[in-house]
């Protein structure tokens, strides 16, 4: 009789686990349970539906249930798993018991909503799945003044979307600068300036105090200020969705993510991947979360390999990220100065400003780079420009993992053509800035 794999969760980790296992094992009986209506959609695309760049939420759905059925993967949508019995190797979904030989936990994350007075007012939304997205899109039709709480990548992408469609938009961030998890303050100020030039009001250094109004939100308070608002979007981050796992006795780490080994194994025959797991930071060697679609997909591949008896390993993470705020691409990899210092690594900084094309070429964009080194080795990078950010971040991600020193990086040749680069790349300029120190 063929083995049974149950996957809990139909997102960026769950569906790839199922698909990769199917590719490797034609016999395994595979069932995916998700309480969501959709599977295999791209939550990262939600802000761009809000902005109108993408015409509908349906565009974000990559595959439907039939697609997986045709591959021999049974997907049960709108079906919540309510218990895992590790000893009995079964789960309970909608009151029924399903046995497994192998279990994949990919329960993702939940919005991390701070307890603020008035959170229950109408007009207050979080933004985690397509249904949330649809509600917000609907609410935008009648909104004149919005407050976005949280200046992380999603918050700022949403802010840019709101201002684009003509909604008066304020971003409230409790830390002293925007994108605090991915940028240093000096780089963050470039993003804040851009937001402000688009017309977004940015309030940093104060948490949201309260949400007020008779029934529907009318204004919020931030420090001593009152900000009128008929729409409030909580973009205050996420936390691993590990309730089910914890109830089953599965161990979570200090980040509240599920503990896994490098094979993404939780315990015998149980594997986990995606936003719900705790991973290790490559630079600091400390436990961390990496709630990124790209990380989920990589982890899923390793989990699938392990489920099929292979020997893949998931490395400690650098979590390279990029987001698009208006026309501005903001990328980051490795640690920020703040995280480095927290870990006792006092970084040496190299900074440079350059252009993405020859000075004389039309539409050359400014590009700002900051590199962080510790003991001559690259540990972090931040890049801001209207083009060429993602690929440079990927290059530096690779450079960090291969342990390259400043000198080795400087020896790497870069290519040149006037329409796509300066003769000396901005990364080289930033490296030369370090050399002088």
């Amino acid at each position: 009789m063929s083995e049974k794999l149950i996957v809990i969760g139909g997102g960026a980790a769950g569906m790839p686990i199922a698909s990769h296992v199917r590719e490797k094992d034609q016999d395994m009986e595979i069932t995916v349970f998700t309480k969501d209506r959709h599977v295999a959609y791209s939550p990262c695309g939600i802000p761009f539906v809000l902005s109108g760049e993408i015409s509908s939420f349906e565009e974000l759905v990559m595959h439907d249930v039939q697609y997986y059925k045709d591959k021999g993967i049974d997907v049960q949508t709108n079906t919540e798993v309510t218990a895992i019995d590790l000893g009995g190797k079964s789960i309970i979904a909608e009151g029924k018991q399903f046995d497994y030989d192998k279990l994949g936990i990919a329960t993702g994350s939940l919005p991390l909503i701070p307890q603020i007075p008035g959170m229950d007012k109408k007009g207050v939304y979080s933004l985690r799945n397509l249904e949330d997205g649809k509600k917000v899109k609907e609410a935008m039709n009648n909104a004149e003044k919005a407050v976005i709480v949280g200046a992380g990548p999603i918050g700022l992408e949403v802010a840019a979307a709101f201002i684009k469609v003509g909604i008066d938009t304020t971003v409230v961030e409790m830390t002293p600068y925007v994108l605090p998890c991915v940028l240093d303050p000096d780089m963050a100020s470039l993003v804040q300036s851009r937001l402000e030039s688009l017309g977004v009001k940015v309030m940093t250094g104060f948490p949201l105090g309260s949400i007020n109004g008779s029934d529907h939100v009318e204004f919020v308070t931030v420090g001593k200020e009152v900000v009128p608002a008929d729409l409030v979007i909580m973009c205050t981050g996420t936390r691993p969705n590990t309730c089910l796992a914890k109830q089953a006795g599965i161990e979570v780490g200090e980040t509240d993510g599920i503990k896994v080994d490098s094979a993404m194994r939780v315990t015998e025959d149980v594997y986990a991947a995606g936003d719900c797991v705790e991973v290790t930071n490559y630079i600091t060697n400390r436990p961390c979360l990496s709630p990124l679609g790209s990380s989920a997909v990589r982890q899923a591949k390793v989990a699938a390999e392990s489920i099929c008896g292979g020997s893949a390993e998931f490395d400690p993470v650098l979590s390279p990220t990029v987001c698009l705020i208006g026309d501005l691409q903001v990328g980051s990899v490795g640690v920020t100065s703040h995280v480095a210092k927290q870990a006792g690594l006092i970084p040496v900084e190299g900074k440079a400003k350059g252009l993405t094309r020859a000075r004389y070429y039309p539409d050359a964009k400014k590009i700002d780079v900051k590199l962080l080194f510790f003991e001559k080795r690259l540990i972090g990078a931040q890049i801001i420009s209207e083009e060429g950010v993602k690929e440079r971040i990927d290059a530096l991600s690779l450079a960090i993992k291969s342990g390259m020193t400043v000198q080795q990086l400087l020896r790497a040749e870069t290519c040149y053509a006037p329409p796509v680069s300066m003769v000396v790349d901005v990364l080289t300029l930033a490296l030369e800035d370090v050399i002088d120190l």
Copy 2:
């Protein structure tokens, strides 16, 4: 008394030698001699002035003579150096003798013009410097049918420029496919298709036979075919300009480039950089040329460091390149399959097609990648897309130099956001294609 540096050549190697020496040494007396009218201009930009992307040739001039004078660098334009006396440590320019303590040779390259009957007809041009560019631009005004000889990067950029302004354009390439020095045939066919879709006629596998006409060119012959033309541009490559060096007794290598050590030193107190020098191919370890602006600038920096008594080294080259043909960016680094096989390295290939943005994001561009491995290590890469080529080539250039294996490359995390990437980068897909072999 301060030392005297003479630099011969005012291009992408000569001027940086002078500038970097000045940065390091405020006392050195620096004179640059060039037979050109301009210094410090970008010949790589010429095709884009022809296409009209850039409004005038003057835009390509980065700095004028006064700029250098203000830095204490004496630049003698329109001044040809006719002899070097290594023993006497002097040069002759315009009949006058100038003594040096250190000499920098940056004489660049000359067009490599094949001996073809009718080459002396009116309407036949090469394209090496700004003056050539101006003549061609002028000739384009009255041209209806052009033949571009040579399907290298410059030839194809010029072809794209010609077709853009409405000139009936044919490219003639004697090897069986376009861009033979930077692409494999399968990747070259993508470029040829694009050229043809733009309306360029591409004839490969036959050399230009003859150029014909009474006084002005009227037609050319290619194999048995007759191609009408009132304008012929010879883009048949370059050769090192080493006449002066050879006359002085300076040794050239098998490529006809000046032999230098890793400090860019020719002989005591004499240094060379740029298109005129012979370098070593990083993959094959054989002598080669690297006639790229980017290589010239890197070499100039090393030469300047050496002139000032430093200890910089110029590494064997991967010569990453990128060119823009219409909207298509074509990039390459390391060796092609052909060059690898010539060197006895039978490559393993990984290929992938992807998109530069999420499938559902507007204006996602196709991207084609080919990777070449030998004994599990990356030795070459070719990428074609309308965006994101240059930076990926730079990343792979870095990967080759750090000796990364397929497995190590697969472990490098890449970042993701729908407007700028797929969740799994096309490079990862190409690596996975190799893994299966």
